[in-house]
């Protein structure tokens, strides 16, 4: 067992290393695009996604900038392809780390802060990789790998705890479901927030408000980015709703009430409400575009806050960081 635990740690560090190289390559790719953008021929392209021309036939809210090619994101550079392959390799190592940890512990490997971090980032990279089957989002590679390296580094260095058996309060199928779905939702919100950030930058670029960041011109237009972010965030929202319900069911079994405004319950609720607000904003005149994008970013920031600050500094029944010495 000890061997497996050390093997898992070796896999984590290897994954961090590989992701770091991938991050550098993704960044190089963006830089490269910034240079290449001028020479490309621009083919105008109409809004295709989500704008839903209606009888009133409103003009598209924001005209798209010319895009380098009709295929969507400006064709992959060599750097991007290599970076993507490395990300996949890093993910394989990452998955191995999760797997070894689980086998060594003989339980699901997501019961303390270190393990949440390990699993949630694996989820994030996994969702990023799989999302490519749906849309080419490789331009988010630098964001995803950068974020992953940072998070994995922090949880491994600062929050590492040894494998310990499950405390009675955690011995529940709901642990498996609740945490798994929560981290999947988090992964989706991470991707959504990334798209929203790019959207905001892109809008400013379209308005010629930002000089520099020329690579933005090679990315999909802001309306497309907004629509993609929305598609991803609503899946995240459904999963978060499920997380909330599963958490309540578990709380009833474990603490004798399904809802008691415990600190973590409060934050799960806040996050849920923020994203409900985001979905509403997307349907409210004057709130689409920038404002709803900010809401998605705030929502994801609340998740990060919940995961880091609330888990470590706030008191509550969810004292599962594994950092406290008193498991009661």
């Amino acid at each position: 067992m000890e061997n497996l635990v050390s093997l898992s740690i070796v896999a984590v560090y290897s994954a961090i290393g590989v992701y770091t190289v991938a991050f550098l390559m993704f960044t190089l790719d963006l830089a490269k695009r910034a240079g290449g953008v001028v020479e490309r021929t621009h083919v105008p392209m109409a809004v295709s996604v989500g704008a839903g021309a209606s009888e009133q036939a409103e003009p598209p809210e924001r005209p798209e900038l010319p895009r380098p090619d009709a295929e969507g994101v400006g064709g992959a550079t060599r750097f991007q392809r290599a970076a993507f392959a490395l990300t996949a390799l890093g993910w394989a190592l990452h998955l191995a780390a999760v797997l070894f940890r689980g086998i060594a512990a003989q339980r699901v490997p997501w019961v303390n802060l270190f393990e949440f971090g390990l699993v949630a980032t694996a989820m994030g990279v996994g969702v990023f990789l799989l999302a490519q089957l749906w849309k080419d989002l490789r331009f988010l590679g630098a964001y995803i790998t950068g974020f992953t390296v940072l998070s994995l580094g922090i949880v491994t260095v600062n929050y590492y705890v040894d494998v310990v058996p499950l405390a009675p309060a955690l011995q529940s199928v709901w642990l498996v479901i609740h945490v798994l779905v929560a981290s999947l939702a988090t992964a989706l919100f991470a991707l959504g927030a990334g798209l929203s950030v790019v959207q905001l930058l892109r809008v400013r670029r379209e308005a010629r408000a930002v000089a520099g960041l020329r690579f933005l011109d090679t990315l999909p237009g802001s309306a497309t980015l907004e629509s993609m972010a929305y598609r991803i965030n609503i899946v995240g929202f459904v999963l978060w709703t499920f997380t909330l319900i599963a958490g309540a069911i578990w709380a009833e079994r474990s603490w004798g009430r399904y809802w008691g405004w415990d600190t973590k319950e409060v934050w799960t609720f806040i996050i849920w409400t923020l994203f409900a607000g985001y979905i509403h904003a997307r349907a409210t005149r004057g709130w689409r575009g920038d404002r709803s994008a900010w809401l998605a970013i705030i929502g994801f920031s609340a998740i990060i806050f919940n995961y880091t600050v609330v888990n470590t500094m706030f008191t509550g029944l969810h004292a599962y960081s594994g950092l406290v010495t008193n498991p009661n």
Binding site: R231, T284, N326
Partner: protein, 532 residues
């Protein structure tokens, strides 16, 4: 019919903002429209999220009453200000309630007209085909061989097979599907209302209470048996289901984590005998595994040791003899207990005791516990004499001893050593008061007994909300049209679509329809040819 939306929904027609007529009715109507607008709903939602934050920053009376007491002690100046702002009861505070009640008024004002409208829409035919399809999404032109009527009949069949409601207007078909999107949206919002009503109303019938049960003891479900009890607004005592629970045995399982040096609890099991309606049954209660008894659920919350303490007077007659639950202070179950002996001795005696299940001496001489199992059980006692304040009729916390007005006889600055007892040992109390004995060592559990009629309703509503959400977000509501005109045995077809709400697949759906119709027509043509 379009789904009805508040006027500031991004999909609704932009209306010129009219100044309200300066009549009462005009203003009321204006106010109501503001309250039920998308913007108000959105702002209230965001406000609710922000308003929930303070409750996570300061302890709440509901979730953490001891935390509130601690906060008051540590911040005596700040406390009254925050308390005045109801920050220790955030989720029942006037301001938090105001936000969610306004939100729900807005919600009800929003969904009721929408429901009526949707009810009518469900029976209405799809709207007439627009005169010019080429301005709509996915506009496509095709040609087909055959009769115009035939082609449109085929088109109708193809559309119906895909779940569209179809009407023929002249030489065109108008089709719509995905009404369930709006149904789902309404189900979602109504489920939220249902949750609020269930908690607000049925919650009044809720009750819960805690009780410590020592091995061998029986708890009977009546008001006086509870250590603490919280009734809902509509609670009446006669509603307590008659049953009793005896704790036969409590079995914890621990593992010592050698690398980190602290014990890890693996399992807690309370073996109980339940008597209900005259029949007895054996059950196990575990963490995460409560038992249902009558209309209640009983949960295992905590556990510890209840050393049996016997106090005798100078003549050797027992004046106090019972197990005393000691409250655990750390993971090795170093526990704190209070013993009050008001009668039978020359003076009232109070004892503050520490219990160490696996006692060991630190270098400083102080005792500590190494493990939560009773490998080396030791009780230490500090004795106090004086007025325990029991007789003045004010109920006192059994887990606290107010030592201010008492005289300390052992431990501390009293000059006498604390009394230290291993199991079975006894020692003299100072001043010839008598003796005290650590007789035996039963365990106790603390259980919570809950009756909550909201649970089932809220669960069903939550699942309905989830189902409504799924349909509302992922079932596209879309319209398809095909307009036909014929010339010399060829039918010209124009296709287009329109979506209600976010629908990235619309263009593909129009194309797919056009292709399916093409195929249906040519299939039919080839199957008919041999007959001619």
């Amino acid at each position: 019919m379009e789904p009805l939306r508040p006027s500031d929904h991004h999909d609704s027609k932009r209306e010129s903002i009219t100044q309200p007529k300066l009549t009462v009715v005009g203003w009321v109507r204006f106010g109501w429209r503001q309250l039920t607008s998308m913007r108000t709903a959105l702002v209230l939602l965001l406000l609710l999220a922000v308003a929930a934050i303070p409750g996570s920053l300061v302890p709440q009376r509901l979730a953490d009453p001891n935390g509130v007491i601690r906060f008051k002690r540590n911040n005596p100046d700040l406390f009254p200000i925050l308390d005045g702002l109801q920050l220790f009861d955030t989720y029942s505070s006037a301001w938090f309630s105001a936000i969610y009640l306004l939100l729900f008024v807005s919600l009800i004002g929003c969904v009721i007209p929408r429901t009526l409208h949707h009810w009518r829409a469900l029976r209405a035919a799809p709207p007439a085909t627009p005169a010019r399809l080429n301005r709509l999404v996915g506009f496509t032109e095709r040609q087909a061989q055959g009769e115009l009527d035939d082609v449109l009949d085929q088109g109708e069949r193809v559309l119906r097979r895909q779940g569209y409601r179809v009407v023929r207007y002249g030489n065109s078909l108008s089709a719509e599907r995905g009404y369930v999107r709006e149904t789902g949206n309404l189900v979602f919002h109504f489920s939220l209302i249902l949750i609020l009503i269930a908690v607000g109303f049925l919650g009044g019938f809720r009750y819960y209470g805690q009780r410590v049960i020592i091995e061998g003891q029986t708890f009977t479900n009546q008001l006086t048996s509870y250590d603490s009890f919280s009734p809902g607004r509509f609670f009446v005592e006669s509603r307590l289901d008659p049953f009793s629970v005896r704790l036969d045995k409590f079995v914890p399982v621990y593992e010592l984590n050698t690398s980190m040096g602290f014990p890890i609890p693996l399992d807690f099991t309370a073996e109980v005998t339940i008597t209900e309606k005259g029949t007895e049954r054996q059950e196990q209660i575990k963490v995460n595994q409560p038992v249902d008894i009558g209309g209640t659920t009983t949960y295992l919350l905590g556990n510890g040791f209840a050393p049996w303490i016997t106090v005798r007077d100078a003549d050797g007659t027992a004046v106090f003899s019972q197990p005393v639950p000691f409250l655990p202070q750390d993971s090795n179950l170093t526990s704190l207990g209070i013993i009050k002996v008001p009668d039978g001795l020359d003076q009232q005696v109070g004892l503050i005791g520490f219990f160490y299940p696996s006692a060991a001496q630190l270098e400083s001489g102080a005792l500590t516990s190494l493990f939560p199992e009773p490998d080396q059980p030791v009780v230490t006692l500090n004795a106090f004499v004086g007025d325990l304040g029991i007789n003045d009729g004010v109920p006192r916390n059994v887990y606290a001893l107010d030592t201010e007005s008492l005289t300390q006889l052992t431990g501390g600055d009293s000059g006498e050593e604390s009394i230290i007892l291993g199991m079975g040992d006894s020692a003299q109390l100072p001043a010839g008061l008598g003796s005290v004995e650590f007789t035996s060592l039963p365990r106790f559990v603390s259980v919570e007994i809950h009756h909550d009629p909201t649970q089932a309703v809220v669960l069903v509503a939550a699942l309905l909300a989830l189902a409504g959400l799924l349909t509302s977000l992922f079932v596209p509501r879309r319209r398809l049209w095909v307009a036909a005109s014929s010339r010399e045995g060829i039918v010209d077809l124009q296709y287009a679509g329109l979506s209600r709400g976010d629908d990235p697949g619309l263009e593909a759906a129009v194309q797919q329809f056009a292709e399916r119709l093409d195929k249906a027509i040519s299939d039919r043509a080839s199957s008919e040819r041999p007959l001619r």
